[in-house]
Amino acid sequence: MELDYTDKQRAFRAEIRAWLAEHVPKQPLPSFDTEEGFQAHRDWERTLFEGRWSMVTWPQELGGRGCDLIEWLIFEEEYWRAGAPLRVNQNGVFLLGPTIMDYGSDEQRQRFLPRIASGDDVWAQGWSEPNAGSDMAAIRTKAVRDGDHYVINGQKTWSTRAVWADWLFGLFRTDPESSRHHGLSFVLVPLDTPGITVRPIRQLNGETGFAEVFFDDVRVPVENRLGDEGAGWSVAMATAGFERGLMLRSPARFQATAAALVRLYQANREQADRDPAIRNAVLDAWLRAEAYALATYRTASRLIQGGEIGAEASTNKIFWSELDLKMHDAAQAILGAHGELVASVPREGAIGSWIDGFLFAQAGPIYAGTNEIQRNIIAERLLGMPR
């Protein structure tokens, strides 16, 4: 057990810190749930790519740096510390990218990965359907084989980034006779294919972070399938594992919020200390953000030594989503009567005002598998309790 950074790691931190200091936009970008903001964030992805910072864990030949997970954590720490923009292509960089590396053909790797890295292709998710939310195996949208193509009919929903994205990845039922998680395939779909209709979903804050996607005889070449036909479920499980696990929410994100919360408390201490429990909530937030970072370093160390990610992906999901709620509850308690005001209390970093963060935090225990589902998984897989 060795908890010091190596000289190489320190140098890496210094390099990214310096680069970010120079390149991070001085003014926050507009929300990527607007057309203008989406474009600005895509441009930022290009800037990152030019600095070879867009996907540091990817191999050198793909424009990455071949970083291990510890370096990735350092990168994320500096990224959030600098208040750099949110990653509009998170779906591509953190979810699809690693999945293609593991399950894609050489041709697919060549075709898709560079355009993810450069921000040329921004990706949307296509998991959920109206009747397949927590119960993802209930997917019904069909992809019927017709020669060299699949013909897709049906509907996806909660498709993150789909309003402005270029491509969508998702699970489709290629065997019409199948049920549950059999007979599904993982298919990549250009969102400009004829027959696709994207209907934005307005969310709590009035913006449109996700969309419904309707498929009406949409023809997609068979070579867009990732993995074997009918083997989509296991491919998707790998992707979902990345999602819930290490990549979706890096600790640095919550450490940034916790640090901002401490500063908010310090700046309003007289107001805040009228309720003596607020100090405890602030300290607890900081400790938990720290604990989340420690657990991630521990998992990263284990993975570097050849371990595999397991049910701790589910414990992560519960921990960060509940921490995020608690931190924003504490912030609202400090802000008191000013808490409900939309525009008045911006906070440092990229997440916008506290009330924006408060609304966004509400979604945490729901997306990427509700926390109830995660608790089932923990009980059954980590603790071995009966189904």
Binding site: W158, D275, G336, Q362, I366, E372
Partner: protein
């Protein structure tokens, strides 16, 4: 000792409930979000016709002379249906404050209590506990606090700056104004008691609205979880979903009696009315925060959408969290009583005046 409402009180509530159910639909609230004023002449006429504007105006001024106990039931319905017309500030808190003005303000009382009773005036109330004044833009008259003095200021004499709330129904304004002899209705000495009562009444009104809001989000969640199916059955049949909503029901069951006691204490001028009001406020704010969280959770991603009505009522819950005093303020009032050496902590004091 009888801790139940009268038949008359329950009948009045049933009537208002059936009218609101028909006329204060979520679609209307959404439409009003998009308008400049956010307020509706039709809704105001509706509450006037229902007699709500006259509810607690004394009979000698043309009102119905009902009490805080009647109002607390009305305010629950206001919360349940999400009404944001300035009814409570005008016809409950404002009317009570004006009715309590000393004899020296007799002429003012005559004019304004009659207008209130007839639905011909809207009031807004400004108090240091709230940084902004709700509904100032549609008020004919603003009752404003100036170091405990009570001032009555026509809207024409104030300058308003709008501030957006996360709840698009709430219209909040910073108010610039100049106190003068002409605007002063009551001295600081007299005003101190008037403001204390207005504060308690406003806090009670917030608590009552939260009670209605909790019932509303629970109702929405119960309906949704009965219809929505996953894994082949309604999600409402899963134990985890049941327990999330049962938790809310338990808290509500024990917050409501505190609300009703507070109404009685306030109506009777009980010396501990402030304590009882703060108790109700604390219990309902906690219950409402839990209700927003748990009903959102059982809605899954649907709860996060603009499309479902849940958001209308969740946002109201969040927005009301610190109106008329935050948790710290009300907890301090409780501490002042409970931790005072002179306080007798004895169950025989639960209702003692």
């Amino acid at each position: 000792m009888d801790f139940t409402f009268t038949e008359d009180q329950l009948a009045l509530r049933a009537n208002v409930r059936s009218v609101f159910m028909k006329e204060v639909a979520p679609e209307l609230l959404r439409e009003l979000w998009e308008t400049d004023s956010g307020r509706s002449a039709e809704l105001w006429q509706l509450v006037t016709e229902q007699g709500l504007t006259a509810l607690s105006v004394p009979e000698e001024y043309g009102g119905l002379g009902l009490s805080d106990i009647d109002w607390v039931l009305m305010a629950q319905e206001v919360g349940y249906y999400g009404l944001t017309e300035p009814l409570i500030d005008t016809s409950w808190v404002g009317a009570a404050l004006i009715a309590a003005l000393p004899e020296s303000a007799a002429a003012f009382k005559d004019v304004w209590l009659a207008r209130i009773a007839h639905g011909e005036a809207k009031l807004a109330i400004g108090h240091p506990l709230n940084p902004l004044v709700e509904n100032a833009h549609v008020a004919d008259l603003l009752l404003l606090n100036h170091g405990d003095e009570v001032h009555a200021v026509p809207r024409a004499q104030v300058t308003l700056t709008a501030h957006a709330s996360l709840d698009a129904s709430r219209r909040l304004f910073a108010v610039e104004w100049t106190p003068s002899e002409a605007t002063r209705l009551a001295s600081a000495n007299v005003g101190r008691t008037l403001w204390a009562d207005a504060l308690n009444r406003s806090v009670l009104a917030v608590a009552a609205q939260l009670s209605g809001l909790v019932t509303r989000v629970l109702d929405l969640a119960i309906d949704y979880t009965a219809e929505r199916k996953q894994f082949g059955k309604p999600i409402g049949s899963f134990q985890a979903v049941k327990h999330l909503l049962a938790d809310v029901a338990v808290e509500l069951e024990f917050a409501k009696p505190a609300l009703f006691r507070a109404a009685v204490s306030l109506a009777n001028g009980h010396s501990l009315a402030g304590l009882h009001v703060s108790h109700a406020r604390l219990a309902l704010a906690d219950t409402a925060a839990l209700a927003a969280r748990h009903t959102m959770q059982v809605h899954g991603a649907m709860g996060y959408t603009w499309e479902l009505d849940l958001q209308i009522f969740m946002k109201r819950i969040w927005a009301l969290a610190a109106v008329w005093g935050d948790k710290a303020y009300h907890l301090a009032r409780v501490a002042d009583h409970v931790l005072a050496e002179s306080t007798v902590l004895d169950p025989s004091q639960t209702f003692a005046a």
